[in-house]
Symmetry: C2
Subunit: 353 residues, 2 copies
């Protein structure tokens, strides 16, 4: 708990005093005030988060945390659980959606085995930081012990610290884990107070019958484990999963180091909700990448006051939405850094009425 506690203690509010300084520069660029809408918002926020009046995003990284889930025994997913390990190998070879989109965004992909039920060899690009070999089935008891849950979070913190020190300027989060929409919806239900049915969707694509079964499985898991909504570690340990804990830790570690984080879809946002419940100040450091097809996603974004950047009907996970959003956030920063001012350009900034 020491790493977790000292990290949380380091997290400050973002520096909103810098909004005015950033906005002054934005308003002096050769465009009508506010006409670049949310691109201007992204630039302002990067300035306030980093406390740097001219931030730059030269080193970018998406962390894809992978873990397995005992709850797949209950038939809650469309794919067999072996796919988690197979996809990790696909990430390492560069063939997955996140590899393609991160390349497009100029970001590296760091794949983290935090809980996969498979023994990987040493592989370039794979961080072997396994805390559990798959979680236990939360429909029958706690997914993890409290110690395991804390270790997952501290693993994320360690990664955030390390990459902040190496000079990475923005993090994206992503996930891989067959079955992981179930713990994510469970977290959404417990931490937003909404009914399980209102925050549970079809994941990678199950039938209506399977969706009903998934909902009742999650309801049963919450009933049996009775997670305390005021205690994020309790919630994480009761329903899992390891990758969600890793994401929560990454966010806490990033906020402690004033690094902005782009959260992907449902699973990453469940991780963010865990971090937010531990320390609400983290929301200032977060960008919500996209509006996921998964219904539980919006409930959690609303709880944290975050507005998604794109709405492209994505539901893949891995960090794919975060990579797309990274391109747009960087567009806002380039506007801020590279556009000419009225003075530079000899353009009239007189407004007639």
């Amino acid at each position: 708990m020491d790493v977790l506690n000292s990290t949380v203690n380091k997290i400050g509010e973002i520096n909103e005093e810098l909004y005015a300084i950033a906005q002054k520069r934005l308003d002096n660029l050769t465009k009508p005030p506010g006409s670049l809408g949310r691109l201007e918002e992204f630039a302002r926020r990067l300035v306030a988060i980093t406390e740097n009046k001219t931030p730059i995003l030269d080193k970018k990284v998406v962390f894809t945390f992978a873990g397995d889930h005992g709850v797949t025994e209950e038939g809650v997913s469309a794919y067999p659980k072996e796919v988690t390990a197979q996809m990790v190998l696909n990430f390492i070879r560069g063939g997955a959606g996140i590899n393609v989109l991160a390349r497009h965004a100029g970001a590296e992909v760091v794949v983290v085995d935090i809980g996969v039920d498979y023994d990987f060899k040493e592989l370039d690009g794979l961080m072997k930081m396994k805390v559990v070999r798959g979680t236990r089935n939360f429909a029958r008891g706690p997914a993890m012990t409290k110690e395991e849950a804390v270790k997952c979070i501290e693993t994320g913190i360690t990664l955030a610290e390390g990459y902040a020190i190496k000079g990475y300027k923005i993090f994206g989060t992503g996930d891989m884990g067959i079955g992981n929409t179930s713990p994510s919806s469970a977290i959404a239900a417990v931490l937003t107070g909404k009914k399980v049915a209102a925050v549970t969707g079809k994941g990678t694509g199950i039938s209506d019958d399977s969706l009903r079964k998934k909902i009742s499985t999650i309801e049963k898991g919450i009933r049996i484990n009775a997670p305390d909504p005021k205690d994020a570690i309790d919630v994480l340990s009761k329903v899992g999963g390891a990758e969600i804990g890793g994401i929560a830790g990454l966010i806490l570690g990033a906020a402690a180091n004033r690094v902005p984080v782009i959260i992907d879809g449902l699973i990453s946002t469940a991780g963010a909700m865990i971090a937010f419940t531990i320390e609400p100040k983290v929301s200032g450091y977060l960008f919500a990448a996209h509006n996921s097809v998964e219904v539980g996603h919006k409930a959690m974004l609303d709880a944290m006051g975050l507005k998604p950047i794109v709405d492209l009907n994505l539901r893949l996970g891995e960090g794919t939405g975060a990579a797309v959003a990274m391109l747009i956030i960087e567009a806002g920063l380039k506007i801020y850094r590279e556009m000419a001012t009225f003075g530079d350009a000899g353009v009239s900034d007189e407004i007639i009425n």
Copy 2:
């Protein structure tokens, strides 16, 4: 009219038979079917538009058409009309929003003087294709003659043909012209049948009083000129502007050459409505970049059956939204071209239920 007529005759439907072939490849990539949502839609559409099973977007360009508007005499804009020419010079120097965002998207910017009320020197990067030296005030009579309107469209066609031959694979459209939301809203009202007040917004940022004056000016212009909504050339000539005609021509020329076009906001979409009224098949070649703050924009997108890619509260024009959308469309194409298939990756594509 010969160039216009022969171009329109060349425009065919997009090849929807290729959707199935593209979708088959998309469904064989290492992801649940459909899980990359609209990114998959963009890839499918690029295949159907280009009739190329593996299209590539190696050469990209945004055309920013500039023109002045006699209707600025009526006090419909927040900025003096001299700003049009000043901004053209800013584009040439690379300091404007469109320069920054096109660089980010890996696209060139081609600036076209099609109707600016200023005599530019020869400048690298400026296409001097002036048809009118500003339009006439459409609140007092026709903005252009029919011959001028056709010449604006044919100028756009010539550019599209030239850049298609040079191997550019996707075009973005953009505009610069103080006062040009007024003719655009006039076009929206005439061609969608909606009331002027329902399709007129505050442009670069006028007051409520000025908005009322702008609406009554546009209403007066439509009453005096009585444009025929079935005759797009009549509409274009009566309310203008030159840059809107250039954009319409660019779209017709692109469709005739099977080049996809990303249309920016209100002004570009008014150009698209002119092209669509001449030949409805063009809508198959169009991508709507974003959901503009300007209220007339959505009415025209709906009329053409187009759904915006991003919603970032943009209202700058120049092609800035098109440049952002280009990044996302290319993301979809890279997914299609670069992701591993289940077979390549040794990932199970068995679906359990």
